[in-house]
Symmetry: C2
């Protein structure tokens, strides 16, 4: 008899699992239910629909060949049944039955299954702030909200938008509103940086600077405490630091796994509130699979658990579930933590752990930061990449890379090169020799990804003694009190003005004169070396260390500071 | 006493090794000699200098901060001695001495060494064709030739250029000449495809089509047999098939390792004529290191030996040599085979082995070919990627990926993602779940790189029975004689015209009608399935296979044919 497969949830993983299972076993009897009327859409595309890049919401629901992915499509092209407007109420694991309710008729019904798939997704976190139920306050979790938001924007009702939460969705929505619609857009983030827990603060500062260049107002270390509401509509946001006028508010404070149904059925739930699954994507009941935003997975870097609600993971897990539903033994091993976001003309991306995340997971880690062009430096139109590699000190194991660069695929390429390797626990040396494809229009002969590894090695071995931007600026601010000497090894045209500005604290000796002018350097002062990108100052450090002096090297140099909006 | 390090060759590896060694051991006494007057240049940048993207030849010899890398630069900034115009004549390994000759004065001199580095590079192959010594026939192996070529072009003396050899350098030079200088440019390649031994013929055909779209004339399976010379200047090229007028000829028929000095010194030489080195980059004499274009290395995919003269490898090997010169134990494990080239608006790239190369190395391998957008399909301005994955059948091990796509970094990203993994011998499943960073402006939720692996798996397991473009066109040409039915599952707007054109041989049943129209299909004819990209036809195959019919699926669909310039 045909196997009965029942799938709850029809956005990303559900349809994927159904299609794969049906292809492998054309005799399978597959039904997918979803409480919404709209299924199988690219939720990650919502900001691009709101900003107008994708003209119609149907664009997010169509195939490459312009078929709308609705119940008829799945029945005719893929051979399985879709029931929309149908809510799952209760799983009876003993009887292998699911109680569902038709939301239109109110009718309840029991559906039998041999295998059940939970693709129940996530629920946006709605902060319990007074006034949050007012009109014009939106989360960004489905097409209906997207349509409502775009309607507000396109009807000219939105002059000022406030976005609560500076994570990926918040920033993508900020760009959408500020860019096409010209709304005065403010992002409010509780943590002390945007993209918290994703990238480190130095890279986040550069991303923030770019948002500000594009007119987005960013407030970090700040939280909303109340909404001002008039006639049921939001008119402002009161934070712990100020009042912000607002015609429209986006709540982008993260999502939580929608695991209630699983919890009530007695399935194992993990620390993040996500359904616990094994590598075959089975829950604690082997007849019930789960994947996508409602599960938590192994973090392949730390070995711990993590919650990574991403459409890409959902699709890949969906295929694994589809395979296993038909008796195969496929696995999804866990999560590396790859991330990418477009911010106006910039791209921010990472794979693996940030330094902060690595430390939080108990790794004794350090970071190497490098600034380099994305093409051979002599090739025209090259853009600058600002990248950081996170390394465990003792093992020299690479835990992650992250960066910011131009919006042209070049950062994606470097991040991807490492993303594929991370599960093999590469050491710094493995990435030093990584065979990144080389030709001047695409890379440097010694590419930034190799240089990152080389720099990390030099730091690990104590030859390159780094000082990061924050420390550097602190030392420079404290220059009257301490004895630090800032040694600028750039040409006089760049270094002399700062030597004049900072007087006895800043000395300019171009690198090509350093070997013969060592006597000018005091033996008793700590020297902070500065150049434009951090590489010539490393050369200088090798010379000076040999002369017994104590030195530190500004990672990323003056160019790195500029990228963060800091002009000395 | 300071260690004496002597380095022969100053283009890429030599200076890199010297800089690294000097940084690690500032007391080292390092001398680098080169017979040329110009050293430390980006040889891979020559086509971009010729085409004008890089205005001056000095651009290829300067640092990011516009310092010219000459003997003075290396002495003052890097602390080692450079002697140009100095040729190495003979190594006395017993005495650890090198006999050199000053080319200006003719004076010979003996230099002692503790460690010697051979960075003697490669020699362009000059085919022994009558007339090859004529004026205006150039190889592209150093700055002097580049300057001479550009002078000819910029003075308007070149209306017609012929390039002998359709490898990377030949094609880059073809673009340089045809694009900026508007020369009528013809590429003549002996083998039956361009980029032979690098990428497979299906991808090469697409690259060739793009070159032809841009006005470059390409002749494959053709070889030059004589040059026509008037007054010492070339005026034409006689091939085995035709006569080509030519004001300028580029010889780009590959390079050979320059290993003569090593050979005469009794060092081990390999099958490719390259110096044999271990993973520490030591020759058969442990006091003599070698790297870059003069050595051959282990191919990490096949375990055999390979010759890979690339500036990127030279730089990475140079750093390893620099480290080991000072007593460290670093390794360069071998070559993966990453490659990338810009061809006008396209990019062609690969890593690992092509299918042809894999078969030549004894692998029982197959290829999966996929066409997919480089961004989420709903995101605007997405470009199409045409990619192929090569897999060993028995082990499901991925041996390589290659492709052609827009010139925007998107192909580089997919190739790089696999380049880093290949040394770990990934299986198809590892790449199916590869965590390529996802956001609609940069990737698809199920990215082409994942789909390639999924497709390969479906082929390996016999669910997707592929037919490639060449076979397909053959079967279509033979349609009167055999019983093949071509089943086009696209919408009627696309499929009906071909059904009309090919009559009883071509049937159009859109995919969404297939399940209910199965009766229209004959049970006794082999069916070749066709859609636009090969994915809907795979869906159709799953339906048809279940009905017991024998089917084949056109890889890459009609879109793939179009990309190769074939309109049915």
């Amino acid at each position: 008899m045909a196997q009965k497969i029942l799938i709850i949830g029809g956005v990303a993983l559900g349809p994927k699992a159904a299609c794969r299972a049906k292809r492998l076993d054309p005799t399978a009897d597959i039904t997918l239910i979803d409480q919404d009327s709209i299924i199988s859409y690219g939720g990650c595309g919502i900001p691009y629909y709101v900003c107008g890049d994708v003209a119609e919401a149907e664009g997010l629901r169509s195939t490459s060949f312009h078929s709308l992915r609705d119940a008829v499509y799945f029945a005719r092209e893929k051979g399985f049944t879709v029931r929309t407007g149908t809510r799952a109420l209760k799983i009876d694991r003993q009887k292998k039955e699911l109680l569902v309710k038709d939301l239109l008729s109110g009718q309840e019904e029991v559906l039998a299954y041999d295998k059940l798939v939970l693709a129940t997704g996530s629920i946006p976190f709605v902060p319990p702030i007074p006034g949050v139920e007012a009109d014009n306050i939106f989360t960004v979790s489905n097409i209906h909200q997207a349509v409502a938001i775009k309607k507000r924007l396109s009807s000219g009702q939105t002059g000022k938008a406030v976005i609560l939460g500076g994570g990926a969705i918040g920033l993508e929505m900020a760009e959408a509103m500020a860019d096409l619609w010209g709304a005065e857009t403010t992002v409010v983030e509780m943590m002390d940086q945007i993209l918290p827990r994703i990238i480190d603060r130095n890279i986040a500062t550069m991303a923030r600077h770019h948002l500000e260049e594009k007119g987005v107002i960013v407030h970090t270390s700040e939280r909303a405490v109340a909404f001002t509401v008039e006639n049921g509509r939001v008119t402002g946001v009161q934070t712990d630091k100020r009042h912000l006028d607002a015609d429209l508010v986006i709540l982008s404070a993260g999502v939580r796994p929608n695991s209630q149904l699983a919890r009530e059925a007695g399935l194992a739930i993990g620390a993040f509130g996500g359904i616990v699954v094994n590598k075959r994507m089975q829950t604690s009941d082997p007849c019930i699979y789960a994947g996508g935003d409602c599960v938590e997975m192994e973090d392949l870097i730390s070995g711990g658990s993590t919650y990574a609600p991403l459409g890409s993971l959902a699709n890949r897990q969906g295929r694994v579930i589809g395979s296993n539903l038909t008796g195969r033994q496929e696995t999804f091993d866990g999560v590396i933590g790859s991330f990418i976001i477009k911010l106006f003309d910039n791209c921010v991306a990472k794979t693996g752990l940030s330094l902060a995340a690595a430390k939080a997971q108990g790794f004794d880690a350090l970071a190497a930061f490098v600034v380099q062009a994305d093409k051979a430096h002599f090739y025209p139109d090259s853009g600058m990449l600002f990248m950081q590699m996170v390394v465990e000190k003792k093992s020299q194991r690479v835990l992650g890379v992250q960066g910011i660069g131009p919006n042209n695929g070049s950062l994606l390429a470097r991040i991807s090169a490492v993303a594929g390797m991370l599960k093999y626990k590469p050491a710094v040396q493995d990435i030093a020799n990584l065979e990144f494809p080389y030709s001047p229009p695409y890379a440097a002969a010694m590419d930034i990804i190799n240089v990152l590894a080389n720099t990390a090695q030099n730091i690990l071995e104590g030859r390159n003694m780094p000082i990061d931007q924050e420390e550097f600026l602190q030392r420079l601010a404290d220059r009257q009190a301490d004895h630090t000497l800032f040694l600028d090894v750039r040409a006089a045209a760049q270094g002399a003005p700062l030597a004049e500005k900072f007087g006895p604290h800043w000395l300019n000796i171009p690198n090509d004169q350093l070997r013969e002018r060592l006597d000018e350097l005091p033996a008793d002062r700590e020297i902070v070396l500065v150049c434009n990108a951090g590489s010539r100052s490393y050369d200088a450090m090798c010379i000076l260390q040999n002369s017994g002096r104590s030195t530190l090297n500004l990672q990323g140099g003056i160019g790195g500071l500029k990228r963060a909006g800091i002009i000395l």
